[in-house]
Symmetry: C2
Subunit: 215 residues, 2 copies
DNA sequence: TTCAATCTTAAACACGCATTTAAATTGTCA
DNA sequence: TGACAATTTAAATGCGTGTTTAAGATTGAA
């Protein structure tokens, strides 16, 4: 009953469940993901979820927290200010980094997809995702936008521009299946991601400049 | 066994199933929608779906076809050329019309949401939606973009701009739940939709102009 | 080695879902 | 009206799901 936790490393099964669950939740979303597939991929028994996490929902929450830690180490560009560069350069770095998180094919890159999923299909864990992941992301973009629009920009116009930038990125993840069928030759991997990031950055910078002059 | 169909009007139940199913599919998506809720809302027995359509999947396909007809009558702005206006004006009209389809709160306005759903969570009917709904939409945007980018624009750059425009619109539908929580005061109804459309149009026109000069 | 706590396993359970069945009801036409 | 097709109904069926159970295996300290 008393948890000892004298060993530094988590139980192997628990760790593999987190990784497998992260992948499966990112691929199918919370509802469509099945505990059976998660356990199969983790090489564990279905009951192991109950033992280690209680139920599917608490596993999901544990995955979100785990993703939070993991991402802050792996990809600090997204949430950290990076003030040494010009706002234009900061936007470019952000867009490329965010796009990579969303499109990277590696099974390790399920982190950004979880946020994207939760935006489309919120679960009971929405508040955790909003507070711990989206708000920092949103603030980061808003700061960049504010420095590009100038001090006279209204909160409404900042929000509109924030959404314009973020939407162009998440689109490639959310609508991947439709894009693949509309443009079968189009692939969003490796160098193409950089090209996409360049387009989105240039397109948005022009939109922002026009919006700044309009005031 | 031999279908008579001497009456011009569809069976009342069949018609109400289509309307109810359209609403429920638009609200929850194909998977999460239940035939029970559809039948409840239509005031029909659960078995009526089997009788009139065969199963849930064929009901969904019938709804897509029904939506196709209904939308062409109700909202011709989206797919029809509208060549009398300038390209800038055409873009503005398209964005406003598309946004309205995506955000209108009326239970009658489930049509555009079905397309948006299918983009995120494709079903076996994806090919129907792609061919009959998305391709005309995509072509419409592409034509506007082409006339704004000029004749020298590459297919890649046209597609990139098409996605930039469409993504800014669908974002407000796909990510509504997240937006509501990030910006609780923000409402996307009535006059706000026009303001959003103005922003997206201006933002995109500036992006397009910059892209045209870049060449 | 022994023993108790920890972890894993196969099987069963309970529930919601789409689907099917067969009977009851309604509508239509000779 | 009577007979037959068309439609609606309540109930049952089967399947996939998350969850639970109880027994077995493993581990680590005394």
């Amino acid at each position: 009953m008393v948890a000892l936790k004298s060993d530094t490393s988590q139980t192997r099964t628990r760790q593999q469940l987190l990784e497998a669950a992260g992948q499966v939740f990112a691929e199918h979303g919370y509802r469509a993901a099945t505990v059976r597939e998660i356990c199969l991929r983790a090489g564990a028994n279905v009951a192991s979820i109950h033992y280690h996490f209680g139920d599917k929902e608490r596993l999901y929450i544990a995955v979100l927290r785990y993703a939070h830690e993991r991402s802050n180490e792996a990809n600090p560009d997204l949430s950290r200010p990076n003030d040494s560069n010009s706002p234009e350069e900061q936007l470019k770095i952000f867009v490329r980094s965010f796009l990579t998180q969303l499109l990277e094919r590696s099974p390790l890159a399920w982190d950004g997809k979880l946020i994207a999923r939760e935006m489309v299909e919120p679960t009971s864990a929405i508040d955790i995702v909003i507070d711990e992941r989206m708000k920092p992301l949103s603030k980061r973009v808003r700061d960049i936008v504010r420095s590009l629009l100038g001090v006279n920009a209204t909160e409404d116009s900042i929000r509109e521009s924030e959404f314009s930038i973020v939407s162009q990125c998440v689109f490639y993840h959310h609508c991947r299946e439709a894009i693949l069928r509309l443009y079968p030759k189009f692939k969003a991997t490796g160098p193409e991601i950089d090209k996409l990031a360049d387009h989105i950055t240039a397109f948005s910078l022009a939109g922002l400049k026009a919006k700044a002059q309009r005031k």
